[in-house]
């Protein structure tokens, strides 16, 4: 039960700097997800919070206590590893109770807490097996059970679901969410999967190259990405990014196609500015087949190159401004390759970024 504060946290491995001064406040009981591409320093950051990695600079506080120089065992956190890291020579029961036993809890207390955790995670029948006799999902649950028995101040998860198949991942995602609701604790969760990040997080921290690009609720990060990196990383399929120039009060794409300036951003894009127009596939749909068709829009003609019907919606690959774009068609309608359709761009949800810096030209 504690807040976690990182201020100016740096990690260097010799000449390589993996984390460049991170500032992050995680509130008590908050579920924070660190997300970013491979090698961006997520694990390193998590391991510094856990105390498994020394801190090269800055401060980490857990529950107000400076923990920079405390070993992991004095931080009262627990961690779920990507490979689960269950002790192979111990039964599930011993795995769960190990931390309590080390802490010198009497056997009765250990048994009680193990039973409690086993009940929460549905492990009761597995208690006498060893990890080698468990399936991936069961191991995952034991790893989580081992984390909760000690009633720690915070849970740290490092890509806990990446070794599971897609279906199981969905299930475990829901279980983690349930667990967090049941066991009120601060959670720091690392993943490179933006879907996991969106679905689990109270707050998402998008990282790149050892720096935080943006912090915010899933909706904030999705709706108001601060730059092209975040815009491209969050959301699936990814946002279409079309280079354009502001000319005559409108946007002109590379091939000369004209598109009205989003009204919301008009004041932000001066005449002659080089920008990038960001449109999510959901905001680029054949007229009459869009998600929300109110508000400012612009219509463009495009030829369908590939259509991927998914049932209630289809993903359409096409070209706009001389560039491949993805669009979405809502409703069970068949589209054939080569079909020429009028698409509507939901301009009130479009984004503009400075072409040089990649920064969002946000209103307000």
């Amino acid at each position: 039960m504690a807040a976690i504060t990182l201020s100016g946290v740096v990690k260097s491995y010799g000449r390589v700097t993996a984390v460049h001064g991170i500032d992050l406040e995680i509130a008590h009981n908050e579920f924070v997800v660190l997300v970013g591409p491979s090698g961006c320093g997520k694990s390193t950051t998590l391991r510094m919070i856990a105390g498994l990695e020394e801190i090269s600079g800055g401060e980490i506080r857990i529950g107000g206590r400076l923990v920079n120089d405390l070993p992991p065992r004095k931080r009262n956190i627990s961690m779920v590893f990507q490979n689960y890291a269950l002790y192979p020579h111990m039964t599930v029961r011993e795995n769960l109770g190990f931390g309590l036993k080390i802490a010198g809890q009497p056997p009765a207390v250990v048994a009680e807490r193990v039973a409690e955790a086993a009940a929460i995670l549905g492990l009761a029948e597995l208690l006498d097996r060893v990890p080698g006799e468990l399936s991936g999902g069961q191991r995952q649950r034991v790893a989580m059970g081992r984390a909760i028995v000690r009633h720690p101040d915070a849970f740290l998860f490092d890509e806990p679901l990446s070794n599971l198949d897609a279906k199981l991942r969905g299930q475990m995602r829901a279980e983690i969410k349930k667990l967090h609701q049941k066991v009120e604790t601060t959670v720091v969760y690392v993943t490179h999967d933006q879907v996991e990040a969106m679905t689990l997080a109270d707050r998402i921290v998008v990282m790149r190259d050892g720096r935080i690009e943006q912090t915010g609720t899933p909706i904030e990060v999705f709706s108001h990405p601060v730059n092209t990196f975040v815009a491209g990383f969050i959301g699936s399929p990814p946002m279409n990014m079309l280079p354009a120039r502001v000319s005559g009060g409108a946007l002109r794409l590379a091939d000369g196609t004209g598109i009205a300036l989003p009204e919301r951003l008009a004041g932000r894009a001066p005449e002659g500015a080089e920008v990038i127009l960001g449109i999510r596939p959901d905001d680029l749909s054949p007229v009459g087949h869009g998600l929300i068709e109110a508000g400012q829009g612009a219509e463009v003609e495009m030829t369908v190159e590939i259509a991927e019907p998914l049932g209630m919606e289809s993903l359409i690959l096409s070209r706009l401004g001389g560039q491949e774009v993805q669009a979405k068609l809502y409703g069970p309608r068949f589209v054939a390759p080569g079909e020429r359709l009028t698409f509507r761009i939901a301009l009130d949800r479009a984004h503009l970024f400075d072409a040089a810096t990649g920064r969002a030209l946000e209103a307000g």
């Binding site: 498994l52 065992r73 961690m79 002790y87 192979p88 020579h89 931390g99 070794n163």
Partner: protein, 282 residues
């Protein structure tokens, strides 16, 4: 008969011959230990033992009618003390060193490791003269510690190398999980990593023990009396100027072989029980 059957039969014959060649000397030694000298030396040779006897053992242990003046008891004790002590030390060093090589990064790690392996490549006997001179200066000739030190240095490169390999197989995340679970480094090692590397440590221990237990070349240079002579060296006591007491020698050889067999048998469970690393995703 099909070609496959023929091949299988051929393999059996080959295996049998190979085993025969390998086992025959051993078998002869063991059998001879229970036969009177007369029968061993008989000409033409008597292949099938006529009469088995424990006289040879009685003789070398100083029971029974006939006695030889060979202090087998002292030799046995020397062998045991020297082999056990050097094994324990070589294992301790091997565990510490193997763990360090497997887990820590430090300057000159590769060079040290290579040096250790190269040292193992030097035949021990090539060092016998320098060791002899050194030991005689510092008074370690014909002492148990003198041999123990030699055997430890002979065994350490091997134990370090073998145990390093076993620790390397254990994912670092296991001990990290233990650290987060509340262990000190020391506890994490003893409760998690040590039990998981146990089979490797047992294997290293057996090999170290057998090396020390069977070593002859260096021991024959560095020992000369009951104060430190080991069993293999003591074996030479049976060769007098004109005669060799084959029966006694074979009986003693059995005494050397048996503890080695017993030890190997005791730890074989650890040697063959491959560890299942089910705790981490494979």
């Amino acid at each position: 008969m099909s070609a496959r059957r023929l091949k299988a039969a051929g393999l059996w014959v080959a295996t049998f011959l190979l085993m025969l060649v390998m086992c025959l000397p051993g078998l002869w030694v063991v059998l001879s230990a229970f036969r009177p000298n007369r029968e061993i030396l008989a000409k033409p040779p008597i292949w099938v033992p006529q009469r088995l006897t424990l006289d040879n053992f009685g003789k070398i242990f100083g029971f029974g009618a006939e006695q030889v003046a060979i202090p087998v008891g002292s030799y046995f004790l020397n062998s045991l003390v020297i082999a056990m002590t050097s094994t324990v030390i070589a294992l301790a060093v091997g565990i510490a060193g193997g763990y360090a090589f497997a887990r820590f990064r430090f300057r000159g790690k590769n060079a040290v490791f290579l040096g250790l392996m190269l040292f193992r490549a030097v035949p021990g006997i090539a060092l016998s003269l320098p060791i002899f001179m050194l030991w005689s200066w510092i008074g370690l000739i014909n002492t148990r510690p003198g041999l123990i030190i030699v055997y430890v240095s002979l065994n350490v490169p091997f134990t370090v190398w073998l145990i390093d390999g076993f620790f390397r197989q254990i994912p670092a995340s296991l001990s990290e999980a233990a650290l987060v679970d509340g262990c000190t480094r020391w506890q994490a090692f003893w409760r998690i990593e040590f039990p998981l590397a146990r089979s490797g440590i047992a294997a290293a221990g057996v090999f170290a023990f057998l090396t020390s237990w069977n070593e002859f070349a260096l021991a024959s240079q560095l020992t000369r009396s009951t104060a430190s002579k080991t069993l293999p060296v003591g074996l030479m006591d049976f060769t007098a100027q004109f005669t060799i007491d084959w029966a006694g020698m074979c009986a003693m050889a059995v005494i050397i072989i048996v503890p080695a067999l017993i030890l190997t048998f005791l730890v074989q469970r650890h040697l063959i029980s491959g560890l299942t690393f089910g705790g981490v995703k494979g």
